[in-house]
């Protein structure tokens, strides 16, 4: 699906990674590892087109990235550090807006997605009244809606409780089983039932 060739990134005159090449096939879970500040988020932002501070090439379905960016944005779901949840809107309004932005978020309806993330009964209260974990769940409800084959998730489990994490892991397994793929960073010991997680350690590739 996604192929990375000879990626080089430097920040404040410090090389984060160089000669980084890998590819992600359908049905794979790839976990990006590294210490704090090793460039995990930077790498994910490069992969999803939010950063151009790099040298090297990206290919989507074997085609060079800038040309197929429109198609890529349709087939890719990104959940960043910041959940993209507006605190003065309700959970339902937030998801409705996300659906407007990305019409591919149409697998189930919003009420069902909110039920799946355990926010049944909270759909019509403004998000600032929700706890941090619940706000995170509103952002992650997108995963239940998404039909995109590639998911890029930056620390998706922050602030989630144990059960919430287990549910998301099961969801990832389901997504991968259907031929989707996932790239994510997390400090949590990832356990996707029935699948082997591939690890890419940025500390090791930094100076190679």
């Amino acid at each position: 699906m996604l192929e990375v060739k000879n990626l080089f990134c430097e920040r404040d005159e410090r090389v984060l990674f160089s000669h980084l090449s890998f590819s992600i096939n359908s049905g794979e879970v790839v976990q990006i590892e590294g210490q704090n500040g090793s460039g995990k988020t930077t790498l994910l932002r490069i992969l999803c087109g939010l950063s151009e501070a790099y040298e090297g090439e990206l290919f989507w379905q074997k085609k060079g990235m800038p040309e197929v960016l429109d198609d890529y944005f349709r087939k890719m779901l990104y959940v960043g550090h910041l959940a993209g949840v507006k605190s003065s809107l309700t959970a339902e309004e937030n998801l409705a807006w996300m659906q407007q932005l990305d019409p591919a978020l149409n697998k189930v309806n919003i009420a069902e997605a909110l039920k799946s993330v355990g926010l049944y009964g909270f759909e019509d209260v403004p998000c600032y009244t929700l706890s941090a974990g619940q706000q995170r769940r509103v952002g992650l409800a997108r995963l239940y809606l998404s039909t995109a084959p590639l998911w890029i998730l930056d620390e998706p489990f922050t602030a989630l409780d144990k059960q919430g994490v287990a549910e998301k892991e099961a969801l990832l397994a389901q997504h991968v089983l259907k031929g989707g793929s996932v790239i994510l960073t997390t400090h949590h010991d990832l356990n996707v039932p029935g699948h082997k997680v591939r690890h890419i350690n940025l500390d090791e590739v930094a100076h190679s």
Binding site: C48, G49, L50, S51, E52, A53, D70, F73, R74, M76, Y78, G80, H81, L82, A83, G84, V85, K86, S87, S88, L89, E93, A96, W97, M98, Q100, L101, D102, P103, A104, P126
Partner: protein, 222 residues
Amino acid sequence: MNFFIAAVRRELILALRRRSDIVNPLAFFLMVAVMFPLAVSPEPKFLAQVAPGVIWVAALLACLLSADGIFRSDFDDGSLEQILVSPQPLVLVVLAKVLSHWIISGFCLALMSPLLAMMLFLPSEGLGALILSLLLGTPTLSLLGAIGAGLTVGLRKGGILISLLILPLYIPVLIFGAGTVQAGAMGLPIAGYLALLGALLVLSMMLAPFAIAAALKISVRG
């Protein structure tokens, strides 16, 4: 088109939930009209003479005051990133944001301006010119302000920088806007001034959305 309407609706709902965003520029606008006669002179003849300029400067600063926040909250909570990685064209989102910013700032200021005109003894012949010039001029202010807001949204303290960047661009609008009201108040034809304000609006409507979109990309990707 549906997407554009949904985007405008979202912005207006957000503004209604945070009333201070609407009230702030209007209160500032009114405050200037209240303070000015106290500080300078309450003489009606003098006030009538300076009213066009004072009202226009106040409107312009009120727009600038609120321009800083156009993209701020979307940047802070990650909504802007989501907009950038979505398949929807960024220019449409930008236009929707500018339109709703205009509705809550420029449009409301234009509606409120007759009150200020009365407080500053603007001759009644100038009233139509005042409202028309504000309706035609303030959308340009919102468009230009959004360029500055887009460029400074990634900075921690963009407040002063945006004024420095944008105020020089506001000057033509100010000159022709205040000129319209002055001409109107003296009973002269204002069509020429309005045409110029309209031309400025068309020009900025054609170019600014692309500049704003590019500025946002720089701010987020930088």
